[in-house]
Amino acid sequence: MSIEKNEEFRPKIVAFCCNWCSYAGADLAGSSRMSYSADVKIIRVPCSCRVNPMFILRAFERGADGVIMCGCHPGDCHYTSGNFYARRRMTLLFSMLDYIGVENGRTRVEWVSAAEGAKFSQTMHEFVDKITSLGKNVRLEDLRCRN
């Protein structure tokens, strides 16, 4: 028995990138023409610590199939300590996502420096593959909005 692969499935992926490292890394991937899937859409934030868990939940609520957050390598944060806060917050959030029905693999945190265009592209490849294999996400629903 095999599961028929749905060729049509195009995941919706939101990537939060910090302005100083990962967004610049994505720019470098672009200027070096290191391609990755068009399913990834990047939102620029000043620092990974600006990413509120609420943003990630909202993405899943609105139909995102995967959310990835990229920041400076630990210790290299432009704001000294922002990515440490982000790391803790995401660890906590991700540990609870399974409980609300979002599989573990649908979220990821990756540290990408401004000089790591290749790593950015590689990470996005891997993440898109992962999400494609997981298939479409079940939309989160805010139960308070139900009648």
Binding site: A29, S35, R58
Partner: protein, 662 residues
Amino acid sequence: MQRIGVFVCHCGTNIAGTVDVKKVVEMAAHEPGVVHAEDYAYMCSEAGQEKIHKAIKEKKLTGLVVCSCSPRMHETTFRNAAEKAGLNPYMVEIANIREHCSWIHKDMEEATEKAVILMRAAVAKVNLDAPLKPGESKVTKRALVIGGGIAGIQTALDIAEAGYPVDIVEKTPSIGGRMSQLDKTFPTLDCSSCILTPKMGEVNAHPLINIYTYSEVESVAGFVGDFTVEIRKKARSVDMNKCTGCGLCQEKCPSKKSLSEFNRGLSTRSAIYTPFAQAVPNVPVIDRDACIKFKTGKCGICSKVCQAGAIDYDQKDEIITEKYGAIVVATGFDMIKLDRYDEYAYSQSKDVITSLELERIMNAAGPTGGHLERLSDGKAPKEIVFIQCVGSRCADDRGKSYCSKICCMYTAKHAMLIRDKYPDTNVTVFYIDVRTPGKNFDEFYRRAVEDYGVNYIKGQVGKVIPQPNGKLLVQGADLIDSKQILKEADMVVLAAAIEPNEGVRKIATMLTASIDTNNFLTEAHAKLRPVESPTAGIFLSGVCQGPKDIPETVSQAGAAAVKAIGLLAKDKLLTNPCTAHSDELLCNGCSQCANVCPYGAITYEDKEVNDHGIRETRRIAVVNDALCQGCGACTVTCPSGAMDLQGFSNRQILAEVDAICR
């Protein structure tokens, strides 16, 4: 409701080649708030900006979306264009449809679809944008240069010549850096110290330059224009003001077994020492680990012989706190450690040396007094083999992926000097490629081959085997004649890769400057802003940014100085208005935001608030705009959602998420 104009740039074919710009324009017209949409070949050009200007005036636009290259590239351009037309510059958002779209996608349909979505997200963000006004901050008119090598020296001199005071912090006892260790310099064969020492003297005598040697940067706080730096002046155990530099203490010091750092461990020095004869300042340092007085309490000879009474065993480390407007990093480089290259027998044989060690051996002030001799038996070598790219251009993780850039040239120099001084010594160079881009560089290399008869063999060396007779058997390959080569050599010189100096990562972290995986500091733009760090107010000079030779280092040092001068010449700087602010009706004064703020920008005030008609005094968070750098840590920490970041507000980011997931 905003009146938004959407401008889609073709960027020649950079964008238009893969994105259907007309389609993006067409789709933009359907977005909420969009009253104007157009495309143009080069939006950043004068004509493109004119179009923006005209549309703002005619359509009374209140917000702009420019679909173009990365905001890191042209955000400022378009913000300035908007400001000229009377629009608040912070009402401009960029949809990055080049680096994040057209350049990485091949399929037109896919790329266009993504470009439309990115445009939508930007429109959604502009819809929630509010005009922002930058604040002002003062500029401390003083510069700090970290590192006292040729890069730091040149930068300091250039800044001081423009009339601004400069402090140099150098961790070793003397300025001079790597260049002071060199014997000759390519491609002119100038004597290195002859051209360096006058500059060292000039720096020392300059009224606006202050040198802290034997000192390290301890901490950095603040931001562009207003850094507060703590410098640790390590205890020298010698009073700088009293010492006359007579050198008697070094002569009489009974502890003479320490390895000389300056001579790369090839000779010894006394416990009280100046690294080299022309050291600046010419004041010795006591190496407390080697000094008998510090180890046993008995000795004190240096103190007895010092007529100036400059020896001070009780001296303690001193912390100096100073304010600076600009900081230049010039921390330089070192050779990589060769412990992972056992095949070259570096640790087994004294006659396998690095190029920098050879530099010291050939120097008249070096361990052998300038005579080329084997370190094992003192005999003159008759057969010397140079091995290039030891750890450079390395495919595995033993070495460095990059080309160290200077080795081809200094090896040609060494080969030439040896052949010139010792014509009966054969010199063979094993190389992967000979890279000589630079003024008069290739001519120099050709002279080594043609006039001096240096034997260049294209191929790598697999192994160096020390022989019982003291010789070294070199096993290599000649790729051109495709044959194995076995060569008996008296001396093997390794052109080891260079890497940024140890400790640069610590400095980068203190400065919050970006650094790459090879520990080179990242420049703000690889081509257009090569001497600036992405962190405002931090400039890069010399090899800390990437491998370079002396002429390149000096030009970069000058460029970094000019950038620093440009900053110091300003009286006021505009601050980033994208700062956090708290909603006084939601804030409950819990202090959590202040705990995560890295800048101490949040304080608490008792303030009278009017909450739906109830007037009461509450403790609420207040953000100091001058200190806030806009990271947003507090916005996520705030349990009541009172903190928000202007320019990247919760509603804006959520709107972007919604637009992308629509």
